[in-house]
Symmetry: C2
Subunit: 295 residues, 2 copies
């Protein structure tokens, strides 16, 4: 399969590297530095995004937000340069509203569009163990499936219209933020009663959740990793986008509204580049006022 890959951050680079093993992959990135390593592994470097996509059967994007997609796909002309049988597959997390716009833009060009957000970070991408939740027309997803399987441990189609996948992914990220917030609140309270947060979090996972996810996030909460698993500002963005998705759907989001207030407070404290779990825990230690004296 001929593949174009636009956007070579940590996630994009890891996924493109796996795709290289079975496909012809043309890569493009805003800064050229990121393409070098992939070219050494056999990728073809394009000088601009329109050139990158011209021959591709599948065009993947892993770009940071709505604005980057708008710039690369629309303003820089990549969408206009795609050939008519090609499928656009967006892998990143952005707004439902922009996904609706992309759906219109691709339909007006008789192109096919699948939104396929991923669960998992760069490590899992390197190991080919992301979890994919594509939405879009079934034929396009089936055409892409062998390519998607190269970097995934699971693929679950979640809808026939691409924007549903973004609503799904934002709901997932909201759930992660809820886990971080509730674990922080409970662990600080336990700590105020002389229970070590480590003991509280490991025991509660053994007693209730039995989840590798909780185990991993308890570690992140209590010890900031050298490289954030996800930054605080990314979490803030996704909870904001979840609220927007809910509003589009006619829903209120009391819990997400509360989390949003906390994210705003953390951003105001300058935490944007910290890991979201450890930043939240550190922030709430102050907000939640641990006791001045042992009880």
């Amino acid at each position: 399969m001929k593949i174009a890959f636009l956007g070579l951050g940590k996630m994009g680079t890891a996924i493109a590297a796996r795709l290289l093993t079975q496909n012809t992959v043309t890569v493009w990135n805003r800064s050229e530095r990121a393409t070098k390593e992939l070219v050494e592994q056999g990728a073809i470097a394009a000088t601009n995004s329109a050139e990158a996509v011209r021959e591709a059967d599948i065009v993947f994007t892993m770009l940071v937000d709505d604005a980057a997609h708008e710039d690369v796909l629309l303003e820089k002309g990549a969408l206009d340069a795609m050939h008519k049988d090609a499928v656009l597959i967006t892998l990143s997390t952005f707004s439902v509203a922009f996904s609706e716009q992309m759906l219109k833009e691709t339909e007006s060009r008789t192109l096919r569009y699948v939104a396929c957000p991923v669960f998992g970070g760069p490590n899992l991408a390197e190991q080919g163990k992301l979890f994919l939740i594509p939405a879009g027309d079934a034929d396009s997803i089936e055409k892409a499936r062998p390519v998607l399987e190269v970097f995934s441990r699971g693929i679950q189609i979640v809808g026939e219209r691409a924007p549903a996948a973004l609503a799904f992914k934002l709901g997932g990220n909201f759930l992660i933020a809820s886990v971080i917030a509730s674990l922080s609140e409970a662990a600080h309270t336990a700590s105020a009663h002389q229970i070590a947060p480590e003991l509280f979090l490991s025991t509660i996972n053994a007693a209730l959740f039995q989840s590798p996810f909780y185990e991993a996030y308890a570690k992140l909460l209590l010890k900031a990793p050298p490289q954030p698993a996800a930054t605080f500002s990314l979490g803030a963005k996704d909870v904001r986008l979840f609220r927007q998705a809910a509003v589009i759907g006619g829903n209120d989001t009391p819990l997400a509204d509360l989390l949003n207030e906390y994210f705003d407070a953390g951003l105001a404290e300058g935490r944007k580049d910290e890991d979201w779990a450890s930043a939240w825990y550190a922030m709430s230690a102050k907000t939640l006022r641990p006791p001045p004296v042992a009880i």
Copy 2:
């Protein structure tokens, strides 16, 4: 070991039945009806709580709340009737403040007191698979360990003072309420974007949590069980007690405060005897205003 067991609701009956297989168990319950089945299995029925505890090495209570403990242990004289080497082990979930009172009452009588709340419902109690989080003096817990092992799949000591175990357990129940609330909010939003709640909940568990707990609660959320796993009013009580425990510890609880508002709304709607997960999901379907038309 000579055991007294006070309080034979579903949980108490299931635990007492397991204890019977290896110990002499004297049982007492407010209504005598509940003792019949256990007596047929070999238990000795006592006519009052003081009589039940007189010969016991370990006195277990599984009573509904602070008031029931106060009535049975203090006003009806069970504590005064215990012999001096006996250990009181409370298994139920009640307030940290009352646990502090019990600590004073037992210390003034030179009795030993372990708070040992349990995670898991009647089914797990019958199978001997509860998770126990005792707090209290180490010798008493070690003395009781062989007896505790008969009905548990795990025992984690969480502190040297009994009240810590209640703070721990209430933190756990607060986390469960947070899971229910966040899953409800996310599943309703997904549903507003044409993603079936069943698909959302099973996929998010496969993609993120990989937790048997989430799997079980997703089922409770979407389909009210014939017998509530926990009633809405029990959940409301425990979140209220978690907030009190946090206040004792000097903490704020913004998330628990929000959950408490929802519990109050549900209680006002008359949901007290419903399963807490399905009641919350049903209630939030109205509160969250699902869309009047498909988008």
